[in-house]
Symmetry: C2
Subunit: 609 residues, 2 copies
């Protein structure tokens, strides 16, 4: 058993997770972000929870008709609790004891005698408990309570919270013994993890039951259709993730957890197959998923418009969680490629440098500069080209926070033979009897040096993931290591052109530039005077440079009707003038919109060959 486990501690699997104390980020790309998260972001979220009354709902649970926030606002308190637990306990973390004591008391104080805990239901003047299976979010909130309590139990940072969670879980098991489930999955992985902490098998059984009951069109009919809720087809029979993206991914996460603990290899294989198909057909180049605003849903295969790409931050967090679980269960290091991509292009893009404003959605094409919102103004969930300090639906902020606080546990695994390093960051690792120091400038630079600080007198295998863009596979060093040994990996972090599958219609005739795991973009603020992002073509016959590509500026004619009979000019200037050659500066996508409102595009139209 892993000591001080992080968020995920399966009892079996090809690889074992490392515990929270086994990896210490020591700076660099992620160390810096983890530090900002541990202080600024957690503090920022706490201020907003208080300001908007979402913590107040717990303090004064009988003032039901004055309750503030949406039906899922309780979950933000729990997710921030979880983040604060990991942050408090991780090596080098910032302590949040006061917050944790207070939030634990809030949860305990608002819990009903029978264990039910939600500030929005069941009191006089409130809707009845479980009266809205589709959108009530009661078990969803309970799930986040359970995950916070798992963090509390594993870190010791929030004594008492586990008892609250057990009572809530016991209530849910009683209430849903025979039938029912929540419109928004989340309690499923939470129950499995609580089972892993407590050993109570009924939690595992309840999670399994929730998953098996789903997919039979038993939720009330809703205009978004049963697919939105993953209630159209039993999960094990589905072919690809669909419907509301975060719901789909949380359900898949819970299913992997159940499958691993119950030995249900068919279910595990089904989820893995669906994830593969989702990656092959329903995922943006950034690793983001979910293309629709209306229902926050996956689109059809290859329906991946960069315009208003939804690609919710929470779906990115969930993709990391799912890929990590499949990595542990199967040992297939290719899942590390997904994590790498999502971390550097979704998670890194989501948070401002100061840790106090956020993207909820991640468009890949911003056609008009965002309006500068009023300072400290709560934003739409879908925002538009500018990070916002908070959202009416503010799930993403605390979700990123809990991921960053526990990030070390997602980067490295171990097994009986040795250590596997899946993600590269400056860090200290203690695993499989080895103590290692990893030095790297990743993702900007591809050199990775693993220095052995301590080693047992036995053979160990040190496995390093080689990203797909660097050839893929792994590099394995198997020997009796000694202190001072160095293993070097030199990944070719060079800018490269990337082209879409011909079925991704929305970006036909375009190319993107990637550098290592980082997707680049063109942002208007960097362009030469007069060059408009919607009026350029890039020359893919010329290799991209690190921060720029060659291209030309076209001058489209403003016809009164934009559909014409000229069949030779569909992609080039219609003026007859020779297009002007230009240099198109690029920046990492995760850096965009940090210098004020701008237009931006990831996919660049190409000069016709």
């Amino acid at each position: 058993m892993t000591a001080n486990p992080g968020p995920v501690a399966p009892s079996r699997g090809v690889l074992r997770p490392v515990g929270l104390h086994q990896v210490r980020l020591t700076g660099g790309f992620w160390g810096q972000r983890q530090a900002v998260n541990g202080t600024a972001t957690i503090e920022h979220c706490r201020e907003w929870l208080d300001r908007l009354g979402w913590t107040g709902n717990f303090r004064d649970p009988d003032a039901a008709l004055r309750r503030r926030g949406r039906e899922f606002s309780d979950s933000e308190v729990y997710k921030l609790t979880e983040a604060a637990c990991w942050e408090t306990a991780r090596p080098g973390g910032h302590p949040h004891g006061e917050l944790l004591a207070e939030f634990t008391a809030l949860a305990a104080g608002a819990q009903a005698d029978d264990g039910y805990l939600h500030t929005g239901y069941g009191r006089p003047g409130q809707p009845a408990r479980y009266s809205d299976a589709n959108f009530g979010h009661e078990l969803y909130c309970a799930g986040h309570l359970l995950q916070a309590a798992v963090a509390a139990a594993r870190t010791g940072a929030a004594p008492g919270l586990l008892d609250v969670a057990r009572r809530a879980a016991d209530h849910a098991c009683r209430r849903f013994a025979a039938e029912g489930f929540c419109g928004h999955p989340e309690i499923e992985p939470a129950l499995v993890e609580l089972y892993r902490v407590t050993g109570e098998e009924r939690y595992l059984a309840q999670a399994a039951a929730f998953i098996e009951r789903r997919g039979r069109r038993s939720l009330p009919e809703h205009e978004f259709g049963w697919r939105y809720f993953q209630d159209d087809t039993p999960l094990r029979d589905a072919e690809v993730f669909g419907g509301h993206a975060v719901r789909a991914l949380y359900l898949a996460i819970g299913a992997v957890d159940v499958a691993v603990e119950t030995g249900d290899d068919d279910l595990l294989a089904s989820v893995a197959r669906q994830f593969d198909r989702t990656l092959a057909r329903r995922t943006y180049i950034t690793g983001g998923v979910g293309s629709r605003h209306l229902d926050e849903a996956f689109g059809d295969d290859f329906a991946l418009p960069p315009d208003r790409a939804y690609s919710e931050t929470c779906a990115g967090v969930a993709t990391v969680m799912l890929a990590h679980r499949l990595l542990l269960a199967t040992g297939e290091t290719r899942y590390g490629d997904v994590v790498d991509r999502v971390l550097h292009n979704v998670i890194a893009a989501a948070v401002a440098d100061d840790g106090r404003s956020f993207f909820y959605a991640h468009t890949l094409h911003q056609r008009t500069p965002a309006e500068v919102p009023p300072a400290e103004h709560e934003q739409l969930r879908f925002g538009g080209g500018q990070r916002a300090p908070w959202f009416e639906v503010s799930c993403c902020l605390t979700n990123v926070s809990r991921l960053l606080a526990s990030l070390g546990t997602y980067l490295v695994t171990e097994d009986d033979a040795g250590v596997q390093i899946h993600q590269y960051a400056p860090m200290l690792v203690a695993a499989s009897g080895l103590r290692l120091q990893i030095s790297t400038g990743y993702p900007e630079a591809g050199e990775v040096t693993v220095t052995v600080l301590e080693a047992p007198a036995e053979e160990r295998a040190l496995t390093l993931r080689v990203p797909a863009w660097a050839g893929g596979g792994t590099r394995v060093e198997r020997r009796v290591f000694a202190a001072g040994d160095e293993v070097r990996l030199d990944l070719a972090v060079r800018p490269r052109w990337t082209f879409p599958d011909p079925r991704v219609d929305a970006v036909r005739g375009c190319a993107a530039v990637e550098v290592g795991p980082v997707v680049m973009c063109a942002e208007s603020i960097d362009q030469e005077d007069g060059v408009r992002l919607d009026e350029l073509q890039v020359d893919t016959a010329v290799a991209p440079e690190a921060n720029a590509v060659k291209g030309r500026s076209i001058s489209p004619v403003d016809d009164p009707w934009p559909y014409r009979d000229r069949h030779t000019t569909n992609r080039i200037s219609t003026t007859g003038d020779e297009p002007e050659p230009i240099v198109v500066p690029l920046v990492p996508y995760h850096r965009w919109a940090r210098r004020g409102p701008s237009t931006m595009r990831v996919w660049l139209p190409t000069v016709p060959s």
Copy 2:
């Protein structure tokens, strides 16, 4: 003054509308559709209004808490009333006297003593009157009542309804004398038309006030933003239509009406300019507008994805209404091109052959076949690839019905010099002292023969619009006509390739086929065995045939990740095999989804040149 005017009767303008009795459709493409509408569709809508209790809300207005339907359901009753008036009175129309008597009594019976009329507000247990400026739809519903009453007054088909409408209008003028307006425009054009019927200038003044008050961010803040409600910028200062498409167009319609009656040429010019820019940058090839599902809104310039194109039927109806008003006001026959396009590609697509099922949204790319819905099942408003008998938001059905019933008045105009024929259909026309018979197989065939049946002994100008695709402009025959004279126009209705502006990113590298005013599409049901619509390229070097184009079938490789480093293969087969040459059969877009669920695309990827 026009005798028996149709829906729009301006008191000034370059061209005058013809009255309802001046044009009789005698068959052909539109005559057939008008006949089906006059019987089947009106009857069908009436059945659903009764079945769902939307007429019942009027019958039992005190049973407020049992009220059924959405806040705008009253308007469906009014729009069907309007349709039934035009249908009853038009030459060759089907009488609906019983429906009209009953609906008139319903409206009269539900009207409050002070003139207020909405079944959903103000009674015990209901929300207060005008308590939701954004979404209450009370003045919106009143507007449709007024338009129904205008039809009643002009046709004599529904005696008594005008009195109800005047009381409702008087109430609205009193209540909104000083401030306020409706989140959904519609009462603005209705008040102007009621002014035209009654001569009461306060109705015109109220419409003008509603338009002037809008655009100052005075509506309550909403997550969709003020642009959604056209409350971000005063209409006369805006540059392009934006926000909710139907709202934007109804407001523009009202503004043209106000501008024409008050001589506000600046306002008229502003709307015309915005419409021009909207046509140049925010309109689908079908003439449809509105690309977003979430907020049913116009997108940014050139953001026109065919995937899930929203292109609501009502926005098509509104575009016809706006273009017709601008045609009358300015005399610019180019507006007829827009009407032609929308009629043949949006309105014609919206209604099933039997007149009993409908599209609400008009996607230009259906990637997966629609699920066959349960028979007679109420549908989502956004549907998905299959016409539905009714919608929870069912505005489009009765909107199309009122347009079709009064369609003759949109096809022809007159002025002091003669007659202008803007749209071609088999019909009898009486205008400017001429009686004309128009014979044509349009839109399938381009020959139009105008036979003079009667003529005055004075010179008349007969003006025929030449569609832009046939060269544009007009053909004018000016002489003293005599019975038996024939004027022939031969429009080259040939299939042609059409290419998008390079800024319409979503269809880069694609072409469409048009035949006359008709946009074509490829539907899966017609394709050769094994040819998938998402795996073909068409050869635009070969001229399209009437019902097919040449192309090739590519065989994309199912890679685990759809973004690759192969820069020569972004649009062609990656198998190395020579792509197989194929014939790609096409059908008119308005014919699609009439033979069961299928996939479909309008924009066809092209073989790289």
